[in-house]
């Protein structure tokens, strides 16, 4: 019984600590739909000062300023794409946690497909050659062993 209680207590403590870690705790909007947009955008923009955090997670001053910018742009009725374009124009594609396909990184996006095609090509070639060898074998001059 105490074990269960202890486990429960631990779970509760951890859950509470998780909440305490959030940086951006103030709600930006009363409207839940706008707040959801705000949450999703700030969670996919990179904080450039602390490169492995989103602007929602970072307590850097710049992240705070960028959250303010996002909040104001949503309030002004701008679309998510307009907000993303605003950020890309200033900080480059690197601000996006979900990179777009551009001319620069096209090869990177295409690489899995290219490698798959190359691999398939290689497999077909090897299989065909082996099949041809197997077909030839009984008639070959060294096929006497089997």
């Amino acid at each position: 019984m105490t074990r269960i209680l202890r486990a429960l207590l631990l779970a509760l403590t951890l859950a509470w600590a998780g909440g305490a870690l959030a940086i951006d705790t103030e709600r930006a909007f009363d409207d839940p739909a706008l707040q959801a947009r705000y949450d999703s955008i700030t969670r996919e923009l990179r904080c450039l000062v602390c490169q492995n955090e989103t602007i929602a997670d970072s307590n850097a001053t710049l992240a705070g300023d960028l959250r303010r910018e996002v909040r104001e742009m949503i309030a002004a009725g701008q679309t998510d794409d307009q907000i993303r374009d605003f950020m890309i124009a200033r900080y480059g594609d690197f601000v996006l946690y979900r990179p777009r396909m551009t001319r620069m990184n096209f090869l990177l996006w295409a690489a899995p497909v290219l490698l798959l095609v190359l691999g398939a090509f290689a497999v077909v070639r090897v299989v065909r050659r082996r099949a041809a060898e197997a077909a030839l074998e009984p008639e070959g001059p060294e096929g006497g062993q089997s």
């Binding site: 450039l48 000062v49 490169q51 001053t61 710049l62 300023d65 960028l66 910018e69 890309i88 124009a89 200033r90 900080y91 480059g92 690197f94």
Partner: protein
């Protein structure tokens, strides 16, 4: 024969990519602003809030835009270099005091010398966002037509100034002379 050449070739290509990757600074993010029109701004001057510092006044000139703040260690490091550069009197140096305390910034310029022709006070950080600033000190070179010619995202040094800035300043100035 190909069985060896192909894997070896792939290895060489991969090794070359990794080798180049090792030399690069992962915290360096090339500014998407280079070659584009410099963002316009008009902000109160640090020294006298009644007097605005505006990018429109610099049209037709080659100028240098330096983003700093008293909270920024690298800015203290580069300040002597900026003072030295200002003495050369090649281009006007415009400062952007980024998210700073005005009194502290004025004190800083009195103590360390003022290399700037004018300093704009960006207490809300909005102009810095327009310029894509993410880590002071940052220094931009702007051409006479208002395009950003070069950015340096680190403390300024005399080497960088002589190697990256001066040749571009010369080119921009002579280009302007040739066109008109």
């Amino acid at each position: 024969m190909w069985k060896f050449i192909i894997p070896f070739g792939l290895f060489v290509v991969l090794a070359a990519f990794l080798y180049v990757g090792l030399q690069r600074d992962p915290s360096y993010i090339p500014s998407p602003l280079i070659g584009k029109a410099a963002p316009e701004f008009s902000l109160p001057s640090l020294q006298d809030a009644a007097y605005p510092v505006s990018s429109a006044d610099l049209k037709g000139r080659v100028w240098v835009f330096n983003v700093w703040g008293t909270w920024c260690g690298g800015c203290r490091q580069e300040h002597a270099v900026l003072v030295e550069i200002a003495k050369q009197n090649v281009v006007p140096l415009i400062g952007l005091d980024w998210k700073d305390d005005n009194a502290a910034a004025q004190q800083w310029l009195r103590e360390l010398g003022n290399p700037y022709a004018a300093v704009a006070s960006d207490s809300e950080g909005r102009v810095a966002i327009d310029w894509g600033v993410y880590g002071a000190p940052e220094t931009f070179l702007i051409g006479p037509d208002g395009t950003v010619l070069y950015t340096h995202i680190a403390p300024m040094t005399m080497e960088v100034w002589a190697k990256e800035f001066l040749p571009r300043i010369e080119a921009a100035k002579s280009g302007k002379g040739g066109q008109t």
